[in-house]
């Protein structure tokens, strides 16, 4: 039974009994939130193609406007100036950040934004805990409704995990913290124990007979444990697994919003939460599949921690390899019929995307077909390379996914690898003992010539394994900073 609630709904709702509260909503209000939810679905739908994506984004903005305005006009507002000021301050900060941020910093920006959603969810849950009456979830017996207590506890817990996890992901991506995994002894036990404790506390909070506004201290313990687990879950995960982590936190921020939507019985929040939750989950799945690793093994962390590459590392110094010069590369590129460029995280680090596009343009003037091939896990977040190439004005119809272009290497004269490594390693196909065995990779060795831009021969990819492509007859290593090497090639063209 829903408690009587001082209704602040201003839209006339004569057909409804006077105790109409948040839970027995005015149909017009419910309809408005539903429309907002539909706008959010259309926002994601628009992203099915670059051509429709911008109108999709407008739908998203419209949905948000509808949700905010509906909330403001249907509640009695004791503090409108403060609220408007809060929106203005937050909005200005967000807008300035969005305008100034470099495209290469997008992964850490997204991680930072996730942490804000998480923290906002925590704050809303705490506010609902302190003032349940405002949310219409105060029972007649003076306790917060049992169902609402579960939703509130879950919302707070997921929000807190999203927050602290995203802060760590941000620090790793932004270089404030080493990208290498930090492994605590017995971490799996600690993590499972903490998760079990959070669930137990949720149950304890729900079943307690003393759960008035701000009353039960277990809520605070639960919150602290959730902050801790978010931190503990992410520190053992290495830098290059961050695409999975960022997607996963994206998913969590959605589930947190959905949990709060249950508390508020708000359709817009529930729909959005479900959309964002599934979006993040699907992206994590795509990333894991592209590495042929299970989600659990990524989350368990520690990948790449051993480093060095063991035996392969010793063999490396023994094997002969060829060093190419920018002039050789320029000559062969000019003569080629088709060139496929494979960018990786190294391109992002060196900010080489603009000069790379310049090189592509010059080659096109020589009648060369230039294509870009992008592996799903290239970079530090899903679609990272695509955004950087788009920033450098590479038309999106020259950019191809792994499965669409992999058959073309046999007809390709030059495979141009810049800042990628594991995604072109044939060991993923041939070597059962390799940590990356089974990962789908580009068949670059079928190309007539391979140019491999790399900082030095010493380094290995994230997986810490040697790459046979370095030593192939048709491979020329171009050692140095990716941007400088490409600049030299452009000069030589």
């Amino acid at each position: 039974m829903v408690a009587p609630f001082e209704s602040a709904v201003e839209i006339p709702a004569e057909a409804f009994p006077p105790e109409a509260a948040v839970h027995a909503v005015n149909p017009w209000v419910a309809l408005a939130y539903l429309i907002a939810g539909i706008c959010f679905i259309l926002a994601l739908r628009g992203l099915s193609s670059p051509a429709t994506s911008r109108s999709g984004n407008r739908y998203g903005m419209a949905g948000m406007l509808i949700a905010v305005v509906t909330t403001l006009v249907t509640h009695e507002i004791a503090s409108l100036p403060e609220i408007l000021a809060a929106i203005a301050i937050g909005g200005a900060i967000g807008f300035v950040i969005a305008r100034r941020i470099a495209m290469t910093a997008m992964p850490q920006l997204v991680a930072a934004f996730h942490s804000l959603v998480g923290l906002a969810a925590v704050l809303v849950a705490v506010a609902a805990f302190l003032n349940p009456d405002a949310f219409g979830i105060l029972g007649a017996d003076g306790n917060i409704l049992t169902v609402s207590r579960v939703e509130m506890a879950l919302g707070a817990a997921i929000g807190a995990i999203t927050f602290s996890g995203s802060v760590i992901a941000f620090a790793k991506l932004n270089g404030n913290m080493s990208g290498s995994p930090i492994l605590l002894p017995g971490r799996h036990l600690i993590n499972l124990g903490t998760l079990a404790a959070i669930l137990a506390m949720t149950a304890g909070f729900a079943l307690s007979a003393h759960a008035g506004p701000g009353e039960h201290p277990i809520f605070w313990v639960l919150l602290a444990a959730s902050f801790a687990i978010g931190f503990l879950l992410i520190i053992p995960i290495g830098g290059a697994d961050m695409p999975v982590v960022v997607s996963m936190l994206n998913s969590y921020s959605g589930w947190a919003a959905a949990a709060m939507g249950f508390t508020l019985h708000n359709t817009a929040m529930i729909v959005t939460g479900a959309l964002v939750g599934s979006s993040g989950a699907i992206l994590s799945y795509i990333m894991c599949r592209a590495m042929n690793r299970s989600f659990l093994s990524v989350i368990a962390g520690g990948f790449g921690a051993q480093g060095g590459g063991g035996d392969a590392g010793e063999a490396r110094t023994e094997r002969p390899w060829k060093r190419g010069s920018a002039e050789d590369a320029a000559f062969l590129l000019k003569e080629a019929g088709q060139v496929i460029i494979i960018p990786g995280y190294g391109m992002a680090v060196a900010q080489a995307q603009h000069v790379l596009r310049e090189m592509g343009d010059l080659l096109k003037e020589h009648g060369v077909t230039v294509k870009y091939a992008i592996h799903p896990v290239a970079g530090r977040m899903p679609g990272h390379m695509n955004v950087l190439l788009a920033e450098a004005n590479v038309p999106y119809d020259e950019v191809f996914e792994l499965e669409d272009i992999n058959s073309e290497f046999a007809q390709t004269d030059v495979a141009f690898i810049i800042g990628a490594n594991d995604v072109v390693n044939p060991a993923a196909r041939n070597d059962r003992s390799s940590p990356i065995y089974g990962m789908p990779v580009f068949d670059v060795e079928k190309a007539k010539t391979i140019f491999f831009i790399k900082r030095s021969m010493g380094g290995v990819g994230y997986a810490g394994v040697d790459n046979d492509v370095f030593y192939m007859d048709q491979t020329m290593m171009l050692l140095g900073d990716a941007k400088k090497v490409v600049e030299e090639i452009v000069k030589a063209l």
Binding site: L44, N57, M64, E76, A98, V126, A127, G214, G383, Y396
Partner: protein, 94 residues
């Protein structure tokens, strides 16, 4: 609304999300993350309710802080998505 009807909305929305997200082209996965981030800030609805309510000053200030955080996300998220999407261009046919 009772719990079951809300749960129904949630489950159906998960299915909608599943199919809609699979149809997103991989080239736009970064904008997808940015825009989902922006829309998940619809949590601002809860923040506004907390900030607007009289009764508990603690809840009000927490609500206001949450409004600030969610606004950073809403404006930042949509603006950065817009900026990224504007960069995706087709080949110019000459």
């Amino acid at each position: 609304m009772d719990f079951i009807s809300i749960l129904s909305i949630f489950v159906l929305a998960c299915f909608v999300g599943y199919y809609v997200v699979w149809s997103v082209t991989p080239a736009l996965h970064t904008p997808l993350m940015a825009v989902t981030n922006a829309i998940s800030s619809v949590i601002i609805v809860g923040a506004l309710i907390a900030a607007a309510a009289a009764g508990s000053p603690g809840a009000k200030w927490l609500g206001l802080l949450a409004v600030v955080l969610a606004s950073v996300n809403i404006f930042g998220g949509f603006a950065v998505t817009e900026r990224m999407l504007a960069m995706y261009k087709k080949k110019e046919r000459k």
